[in-house]
Point group: C2
Chain length 316, copies 2
């Protein structure tokens, strides 16, 4: 199945009863400060607190009956795990989520709260892959990869359809890159519906594999990354990079200080809670990595799940 | 001018171009936890970050030309000062805000940011009154009291009109009490539009002058109060207490721990930023001071202005 506008529209029709249509916020103050007109699509208000609810729901609903029956499995230390657990419960099938043994209790409880079985493994990529493979061999469950999955990408792209329904005449679209599921769906939807739009990926400089890959025109993987934007630490997937090369205009990077400042400014000004990964596009504006003056600029606040005991601006 | 539904409707027509119609949020999770159906009117998203924008705007617009010309004055260490400054600027008149000399820089900058002149005084009630009196004598400015003012009360009541337009069949309405401006306007609007509704004031136990007054059926003033809900530290006004005796069904109190827990739960679940004073009605539900099981319950999140460097759950 190719990732195209038709696939994203199909996903939207399929998942609509199970997700929120999230609001688009604006701020006269942030417009004045930036010189642009900014439109914030609030996926922090989405089910499970992140856009991940869209892609996981689409992937689970797209399974045929026989494939669905033994359930689904994924490795995730974050929002995809909760989203897949919720989607499986809504379809009435089992979800098994492989999580690193050092996962925070809050995240483990969130996944268990949606009725999934949590399987712990050593916090290494090798252990994660091996554990998933074992679960699949033992149970016949289907792997739902967090971003290297066409149905997941198509589901993530549905937020962009909604944003353009609400604000038709965007000049620029900013979107964070972790594994690349959101940027893939967003770029295909944006360019298909509005070919003149510029789609710019935004990424922490401390986890800049997408930026480096885009510059080098080949997939660059990083051994270690260290950013407060915990949803963006992983490397991009190969199918996602293929989409970027065709549909994304540019990728820019931001500093850790910029991410923290952006997150704080959003909390203070818009009075909403967003997680560090969600603040990355606005950080690109703050750090003048993107020229927004006189332009109509959309961005997705990707999620709102953050440990309120560990806020980055609090001196301890 | 009596405080009645007509006055609140007049206020609403007058201020509508200058305020946000704020959204009403719901949460399946908080409904399940409480056993009721909860409707949160989000005045944290209001202009200046608090419902105070409504009352101040109405009071400033209600002045006749000659009275308005020398400007307005108020004492305020919080949201009313910013709201009055904004309202005066929109009408093109001067605002002078008397603030205690120990006010936080953030609050002083907010008021100055709206173009008002800040006049510092000693942090005592006597100095505040004397300083306001001096400004009035010297400049002819009109005092806009933060709650003992019929136009301010009528303006605050406009949020309740909007809430009942959105959710017509509320059984119970919860509303915080500081000076009593919001509860006055809310109670009159609620009981006039829907006589069967129960209107319950919610107050910190550490600043329970409204509760004590309501029990004693006479105005009880407290010398000192100490609550994290900084908008609710003052004593209620005499005209406000008159309104309560006629329109309010009950007043309940909550603990400091309850306020902090309620605020945190709202941030985590609804992904929005509310200030401690705004969390007091939900704290009353958490602490089971109000029985909401099977009932449709409205409440106003009164504001979202909080110092992100001093969050109460962060251990230092």
């Amino acid at each position: 199945m190719p990732l195209d506008l038709a696939a994203i529209r199909t996903a939207h029709d399929r998942i609509r009863p199970y997700i929120h249509r999230t609001p688009v916020l604006t701020s006269a103050r942030l417009d004045a400060a930036s010189g642009g007109s900014l439109f914030f699509k609030c996926e922090n208000f989405q089910k499970v607190g992140a856009f991940k609810a869209r892609g996981a729901m689409n992937a689970v609903l797209a399974l045929d009956e026989a494939t669905a029956r033994p359930g689904v499995v994924a490795h995730s230390s974050g929002n995809h795990g909760a989203a897949l657990a919720r989607a499986a419960r809504l379809r009435g099938i089992t979800a098994q989520i492989v999580m690193p043994s050092n996962s925070s209790k809050v995240k483990v409880r969130a996944v268990e709260g949606y009725g999934a079985k949590v399987i712990f493994c050593e916090p290494t990529a090798a252990a994660r892959v091996a554990t998933c493979a074992r679960v699949i061999a033992e149970t016949g469950a289907t792997l739902i990869h967090p971003f290297e999955n066409e149905h997941v990408m198509a589901g993530q792209g549905t937020a962009m359809i909604e944003l353009l329904e609400d604000i038709a005449d965007l000049d620029v679209m900013l979107c964070s890159v972790g594994g690349g599921g959101l940027l893939s769906g967003t770029a295909v939807a944006a360019k298909s519906l509005r070919p003149s739009i510029k789609v710019i990926g935004t990424e922490p400089a401390n986890a800049s594999d997408a930026f480096q890959s885009f510059q080098a025109k080949r997939l660059v993987a990083l051994e270690t990354t260290d950013t407060i934007a915990d949803g963006l630490r992983g490397n991009i997937g190969a199918p996602n990079f293929e989409v970027f090369q065709r549909y994304v205009d540019d990728i820019v990077t931001v500093t850790e200080e910029g991410i923290i400042a952006a997150m704080r400014e959003v909390w203070e000004t818009l009075k909403i809670v967003i997680e560090p990964s969600a603040a990355v596009p606005y950080a690109a504006i703050l750090e003048k990595k993107v020229d927004v003056r006189g332009r109509r600029v959309g961005m997705i606040f990707s999620g709102g799940n953050i440990d309120l005991d560990a806020l980055p601006w609090v001196k301890r």
